[in-house]
Symmetry: C2
Subunit: 440 residues, 2 copies
């Protein structure tokens, strides 16, 4: 049994699906857990696009982390921006604070948008990875409609009413479907002068079909549904350039627009910055079969930031289920180690329980591991129940379910407010700025 | 009967309680109405403090104006920032757009925080007048708790946990009560290291009692309830100076703090900028008994921005009921004029139906015009039903009622997320900035 007076400290960096699952599994285990995240909430990222399109409130998909661990005796959350990790010195550097030493590290820092080095595209695109992205996109889309309504120049008006979504994976498919539904609700109604036919939603995908992680059948189905709902699907097309006037595709088509939503790629958020750590070509940390960072004692990496080699140079998918399973696996491995269990646990094995996406009202796709597939209403219903199940907190579930019922019955996306909450407290000309500067 | 081919145009500036009531009353009347506001929603300002303290979502108290007038044939909303009003030329200047000509003007631009010329206090204080104020205050208060939790310097920690509310009117009383309830919920629970006794909430009021618009009895009651809930009420005290380290009161007490909420005064938002218009000493436009701006044909002013002289140099209170009544009165007067009604309507008469405030759970004060007063549970219940009744939109009512029920039963303020949605689209490094610059 471990010495109760000095329990090993586990530092978990990141409170996404992987980090949170790990911290929850370590609750009431003989370790002290410090969970670090730059935000004070766990974010249910698969529903970001519903915040962006006015269906859900931000708080419906964000759950305060301190509340999750309110009754936990050994898990502490701390809001902090991690500036670096010293794998040799076993410390995590925190911006504006003292370094945090660890006995065990769980790196679960996820991923961020990848613009593949194209700074110009990065500057004019809106991502959809964090909560402020979603409210910013909502503000932006509604502002475009407001401006188009008052615009007399037809070219500018057309560009304001053109929305380009880049990337035909689940995020791109779900976002364009939801955007089409929003436009159906407001065009000709809230905006009397704007007809649905003037609004263009373009979904750009480099591969020959949508949803390449799913079967060809499901990809074609998603395309048919989107096209029926008025989305212009461009396959085998890449965005070559983008600026404030619009995008240029690889086939030289240029599309004047004021909105570019980027969902065409992610790259790992890796704070270690150590060249000695082995990495895949896409920059994910190449952990061993037990999810340990090679050469770093006590350090694990899970989720989007890392993968073991799975079979022939392949990786785990960058999705929430492998992250959650890995989080729980690592928690058990740490407890084994602390308890001095001598029989080593087998390597991590990801169990694929299926993947799903929704294209909109009554239309979803679900792929189950046995090869079973649902589309349409059944696919949509499965999506709905799985998402309700995984939302954290009773209130968030009730609130999201209420919003979805409202949308389903009333065909409404009610949260159509343009609300910029201003700069972050640290930068605001308020008392906060003073205190931060002093405390920094 | 008016000529149907050229209907008189009514321009309403501001969509608060007065402007909205006027626009609604002009629905389906023989005029074309243009409603201008810098925000795309009507804001239910009396509940801002509940957004600031994590009980309601911003969208619960903000209702999209286009949705209000979705089925209206003659009322059009336009999101625009009014830069000025030319009363002689009968046009409204709009930032980044062509001037809007009017036949009738209804100036309903409300009021903004008044720091009485003290720029230093203005810079370090947080107001509570618009929706971004409320989310900013929520972010700020929660950030102070996060920082205090990690702070080792006891002086800094104490300042981070001190919240000063300036002004003992309804906003100040309601804010300090709600803040005390929020602290009760999180201290020692979400924040294990912070005890309630370390947290100081100070309410500063210059007069000898709180709620001076109510009876002395109700003011004393509010004070007792607040003090019982741990609020330090300082009467006959003014804030003389404030900076990023804290405030100094008129009795030379200095209170180190990082949060100053300002609710000690408002001044009218007057875009006319014409010295020829008569004004009260507090800068409100002095309209005639029919709410017309003297010397300006077809121009009315209602709500916080203006008042007729009521009796002996007195003014209408700066509250929503007189604004709403004035909005409806002016709408009727305009329709009379358009229809060529020759018998002039009598001057505007404000009917006081009572005022109310809530100090928190089970504790409210209600004053009815006959001198009837309620306190405690009954005062709180009255407050609750009146506020539900006046919230716009079935969904907002359901959502607010649900949140209040949740709070009542669970003692919870669940929306404890720190969410800065970034700068406004116009300033963001996104596609929007390009389009705005081009369109400007």
């Amino acid at each position: 049994m471990p010495d109760e007076t000095r329990r090993p400290r586990v530092v978990i960096v990141g409170s996404g699906f992987g980090g949170l699952a790990c911290a929850r599994r370590l609750n009431r285990q003989p370790v002290d857990v410090i969970l670090l995240d730059q935000h004070n909430y766990h974010l249910f990222t698969p529903l970001l696009y519903q915040v962006a399109t006015g269906l859900l409130n931000p708080a419906d998909i964000a759950y305060p982390l301190r509340t999750v661990f309110r009754h936990s005796p050994n898990v502490r959350f701390r809001q902090a921006t991690v500036a670096g990790v010293d794998l040799a010195g076993k410390t995590v550097q925190v911006r504006g604070g003292a370094p945090v030493a660890y006995d065990y590290l769980v790196l679960a820092t996820g991923s961020t948008d990848n613009y593949f080095g194209n700074q110009e595209i990065a500057e004019v695109s809106l991502g959809l990875k964090v909560l402020p992205d979603a409210t910013r996109l909502r503000n932006h889309v509604l502002s475009c409609l407001e401006r188009a309504d008052a615009e007399v120049n037809t070219d500018v008006r057309r560009a304001l009413l053109t929305f380009v979504i880049v990337g035909g994976g689940p995020t791109g498919v779900e976002s364009s479907g939801a955007l089409a539904e929003l436009m159906e609700i407001v065009a000709g109604k809230d905006y009397h002068q704007i007809s649905r036919s003037e609004i263009r939603i373009v979904l750009v995908e480099g591969l020959p079909r949508l949803l390449s992680a799913f079967s060809e059948h499901l990809g074609r189905y998603a395309q048919r549904v989107l096209e029926r709902r008025g989305v212009d699907v461009r396959l085998k097309a890449l965005v070559k350039a983008a600026d404030e006037h619009g995008v240029t595709l690889s086939d030289q088509t240029s599309i004047p627009c004021r909105t570019i939503v980027w969902s065409a790629g992610v790259r790992p958020n890796d704070p270690t910055g150590t060249p000695s750590v082995p990495r895949f070509r896409n920059a994910r940390i190449k952990v061993d079969g037990w999810l340990r960072i090679p050469g770093a004692t006590g350090a694990y990496a899970i989720g989007d930031v890392a993968s073991p080699e799975v079979g022939d140079q392949r990786q785990l998918p960058m999705l929430s289920p492998p992250a959650m399973q890995a989080g729980r696996y690592v928690a058990r491995a740490i407890v084994d180690h602390v308890r001095g269990v001598t029989v080593q646990r087998g390597p991590f094995h990801y169990v694929d329980k299926g993947t799903m996406a929704t294209i909109g009202r009554n239309a979803g796709v679900t792929h189950l591991p046995g090869g079973l597939e649902f589309t349409g209403f059944l696919g949509w219903l499965t999506w709905l129940f799985v998402h309700i199940y995984y939302l954290i907190g009773f209130r968030n579930r009730i609130s999201a379910l209420g919003s979805w019922a409202w949308d389903y019955l009333r065909h409404d996306r009610p949260i159509r407010i343009i609300l910029a909450t201003g700069v972050e407290p640290e930068q605001a000309p308020s008392v906060a700025s003073g205190s931060t500067r002093k405390m920094g």
